[in-house]
């Protein structure tokens, strides 16, 4: 038996050794190849591009891909292999691709994961590439927004160009406004909402006038008077505050808003289950359980939301539009460090921003098959095709470069939406800390503890479900015990450092 034991150990050891070795080999190989491809005759390079899809993967993806490749092969001698991944599995999937050294050249990263990826070194630095190949990208962006996407003064990601700022406001079906005689011109700030809720409750006592704008969101998640600096742990009130970071939860404004929300909750203006709500805002409004919500605003929001809710909606802004880093870096494109040919990846990215043909294919599909032009620059489904049977009803134009890069808008949206967006972006106020991103790495122990405390209290407080007089002091003292002051101090340090480079 001993003989066999030794055999087992030997087997295990070799197995471990073999796996360890193969890993090293594959990495060295890949770097050799990228060097090799630069000199000598160029072969057509195939780029792998991973991005999330929010519905089913369109069945004509391959056709669209082939049409794109025809253009890209001619322009930059590269083809692209589109790799759509369902949103639920996206983070896991691309992390696996990165860790297992799978071929990946273009990657969509969201604001939630981008800092981690950069600090772990998984993304390529893009400054030189942007300088060399990125003219099309630079033309699309206002320079301040492209600069805002920098981390440590270097480009690691290219954001998509859509709304670069956000205001907050009330979203309500038009039928309630008309039926209950609500005069929305009277509503200009947060506390004026009470009048709207009162009108609704007076006319219909079964309905909850205010519901959260999504599962897991509080009311104040979509109403801000401060730059959250990424995570609301240490914020800049009024988007300025002379770059002095403060604890949001200790501010007087925060307490005032909570008191107001509590008052509304007790008056029956806020849905009773708001803190544990499991239904989407759409279900809540469609089933008549809720009447209105506070949400982020951008140009054309009323039309967009009307389609989503299946009824005509009215939007009333309550704040002015402000741009923070978070608004700019929503969904971004990055080039993974494992890419064998970052130059081609950048060239394709630039093409996606600047080439109308490629934008049209990615945004809407193939003309005649997935869309037809019904009037100038307005498109719709061809006859006999609709969202349910179209082979390419992706509708994710805000994810592929410039949202209006195709020059088309869908039938039903305003034809001058592109101009509206441009104006919105150009006139929005800029937060004083626009471009700053916090790196939580040095205070990660405190960060996990504080995240837990916020999770524990925020939703209940910011929906009015609990009494702020009792719970807010408890919340603040727990935050302090968990080390929020250490995080704020670190944030201030990083912000000062950042400001000195501007």
């Amino acid at each position: 038996m001993k003989y066999f034991n030794r055999l087992k150990v030997l087997f295990l050891a070799t197995l471990l050794l073999v796996t360890a070795c193969t890993k090293n080999e594959s990495t060295t190989n890949s770097s050799d190849q990228s060097e090799g491809s630069n000199n000598g005759k160029e072969e057509t390079y195939e780029l792998v591009m991973a991005f999330p899809v929010f519905g089913p993967v369109p069945k004509d993806m391959d056709k669209v891909e082939a049409a794109i490749n025809k253009i890209s092969k001619e322009k930059i001698n590269a083809t692209v292999d589109l790799e759509p991944i369902s949103i639920g599995a996206y983070d896991q999937q691309y992390n696996l691709m990165l860790t297992s050294n799978e071929k990946l050249d273009l990657l969509m990263v969201s604001f939630r994961t981008v800092d981690g990826l950069i600090s772990k070194g998984s993304l390529h630095e893009l400054d030189d590439l942007l300088e060399k190949y990125g003219d099309g990208i630079k033309q699309v962006f206002e320079p301040e927004y492209l600069n805002a996407a920098k981390h440590n003064n270097k480009h690691f990601i290219i954001p998509n160009y859509n709304e670069m700022a956000e205001s907050n406001g009330l979203l309500i079906p038009k039928k309630y406004v008309d039926d209950y005689g609500i005069d929305l011109s009277k509503v200009t700030e947060f506390k004026d909402l009470e009048y709207v809720f009162e009108q609704i409750k007076k006319n219909n006592s079964d309905i909850a006038p205010l519901v959260p704008a999504g599962v897991g969101f509080s009311i104040l998640d979509h109403y801000r008077w401060y730059d959250s600096l990424g995570d609301s742990i240490g914020v800049l009130p009024n988007y300025d505050n002379d770059l002095q970071v403060v604890n949001l939860y200790e501010t007087h404004e925060y307490e005032e808003h909570l008191n107001l929300l509590r008052k509304w909750y007790e008056a029956g203006y806020i849905m009773k289950d708001a803190a544990t709500n499991q239904d989407s805002q759409i279900d809540l409004l469609k089933s008549g359980r809720g009447a209105a919500l506070i949400s982020g605003m951008k140009p054309g929001i009323a039309e967009d939301e009307s389609i989503k809710f299946g009824m005509e909606m009215v939007a009333t802004p309550l704040t002015e539009a402000y741009s923070t880093t978070r608004n700019v870096v929503g969904l971004n494109w990055g080039i993974p460090i494992t890419s064998e040919n970052p130059e081609k990846a950048m060239q394709f990215l630039d093409l996606m921003f600047s080439n109308e043909e490629i934008a049209r294919l990615l945004h809407w599909g193939i003309e005649g098959e997935h869309y037809v032009e019904v009037s100038e620059n307005v498109i719709d489904y061809p006859e006999g095709v609709d969202g349910s049977n179209s082979g390419y009803a992706l509708n994710q134009n805000w994810m592929f470069g410039n949202q209006f890069g195709s020059g088309y808008v869908w039938n039903g949206t305003s034809p001058k939406l592109a101009q509206d967006y441009k104006e919105f972006n150009q006139t929005a106020h800029l937060s004083k800390a626009l471009g700053f991103t916090f790196n939580a790495e040095p205070v990660r122990n405190e960060y996990t503890a504080v995240s837990n405390v916020i999770d524990q209290y925020k939703l209940s407080l910011e929906t009015g479900s609990v009494d702020p007089d009792e719970v807010l002091p408890e919340f603040i003292s727990k935050l302090k015990a968990a080390g929020i002051d250490t995080i704020i101090k670190e944030k201030q340090k990083q912000l000062d450092e950042w400001a000195s480079h501007q």
């Binding site: 803190a275 460090i337 990660r444 524990q456």
Partner: protein
């Protein structure tokens, strides 16, 4: 084949034959023995290989728990940071609460599930009509097959403030005020075990039931002839004879006592913050804390800590079992 092996075993266990034999002969015998076992080794190979690839190879990844993991440098190239990744688990004010909750809940689950499942299994055994046995078995097994997310909605249908059955039908009938279940932590130490029991009792019952079915009927016949009552039969025959299975199941559960059913503690309370005092366990704490940081090193550290504690607890539990009856111990 079986015959020769038994002979081999006898041969090996015979001290006179093996240990006093000259070395050369012993080696020869060993090789011959090994040759006889070859078919068995071949049969063992797929399972062993699976175990190696699936359970042992990934253990290499444990080093991540002690490293400042960096994608560029890779697992081996990243810098060692000692126990820094573990700090966040112990430095917080919640360390006590999450450890207490994890241990108390899981400990209570083990006792409650085992006692109830053995009880139900004995009851099932008393049913004579096969049709009903099958029927009851299926009914109590169904919850085990339902996903926790679905369970959380079923619970929500009962406990919701606006539309829940309890608040809208049952409590008013009894003349009681509605309760905000998802805001009151004090009720959850009762709610969670009930849900856990409802969900997992079917699985345990089937295991214990099959163990009971394996008991020789002659024991019961003999006991009946001697005038033993049903209760005495259960106490003196059924439970002692299935105790090896009970002990094994308990030991296996103890190994996982530091892991908790994430769905039960996260989905079922709907992640309601006000309930954290009684619903926060190590897994949910780690999930919430690292959701934003996404630090692989810290997550591995938490997993490592959980498995080490589980491992030590199994060793201790097994030691206790072995002290009492050697045959029932796992190893």
């Amino acid at each position: 084949m079986a015959e020769t092996i038994r002979k081999d075993l006898e041969y090996e266990n015979d001290p006179n034959l093996v240990h006093n034999a000259p070395t050369k002969v012993r080696v020869k015998k060993k090789i011959r023995t090994f040759k006889r076992y070859i078919p068995f080794f071949i049969m063992l190979a797929p399972g062993l290989l699976y175990l190696l690839i699936n359970n042992y190879l990934p253990m290499f990844g444990l080093v991540i728990a002690f490293k400042d993991f960096n994608f560029v440098k890779g697992i081996l190239g990243s810098e060692w940071v000692g126990f820094k990744n573990f700090e966040f688990l112990f430095k917080t004010q919640d360390a006590f609460i999450i450890t207490r909750n994890t241990l108390l809940y899981n400990g209570f689950f083990i006792v409650l599930n085992t006692v109830s499942a053995v009880g139900v299994a004995i009851l099932l055994n008393e049913i004579r009509k096969v049709f009903f046995v099958r029927l009851y078995q299926s009914i109590i097994l169904i919850p085990f097959l339902i996903s926790m997310v679905v369970v959380s909605y079923l619970v929500y249908a009962g406990l919701s403030v606006e539309s829940g059955i309890l608040n809208n039908t049952i409590l008013p009938l009894l003349g009681l005020e509605p309760i905000s279940w998802y805001m009151e932590p004090k009720y959850w130490p009762f709610i969670l075990p009930i849900i856990n029991l409802w969900k997992s009792i079917g699985f345990f019952t089937i295991i214990f039931f099959s163990a009971i079915l394996g008991i020789d009927k002659e024991y019961y016949e003999a006991a009946t002839l001697d005038g033993a009552s049903k209760w005495q039969q259960i106490k003196k025959i059924t439970i002692p004879l299935i105790s090896p299975v009970i002990i094994m199941m308990t030991l296996l559960s103890i190994g996982r006592i530091f892991y908790s059913d994430f769905g039960l503690f996260y989905q079922v309370p709907l992640n309601s913050g006000m309930l954290y005092d009684t619903t926060n366990v190590i897994d949910t704490y780690v999930y919430r804390g690292l959701l934003q940081l996404g630090d692989i090193g810290m997550a591995s550290a938490a997993g490592f800590y959980q498995s080490i504690v589980g491992f030590i607890l199994v060793l201790i539990a097994n030691l206790i079992v072995r002290k009492r009856s050697k045959d029932n111990a796992l190893f």
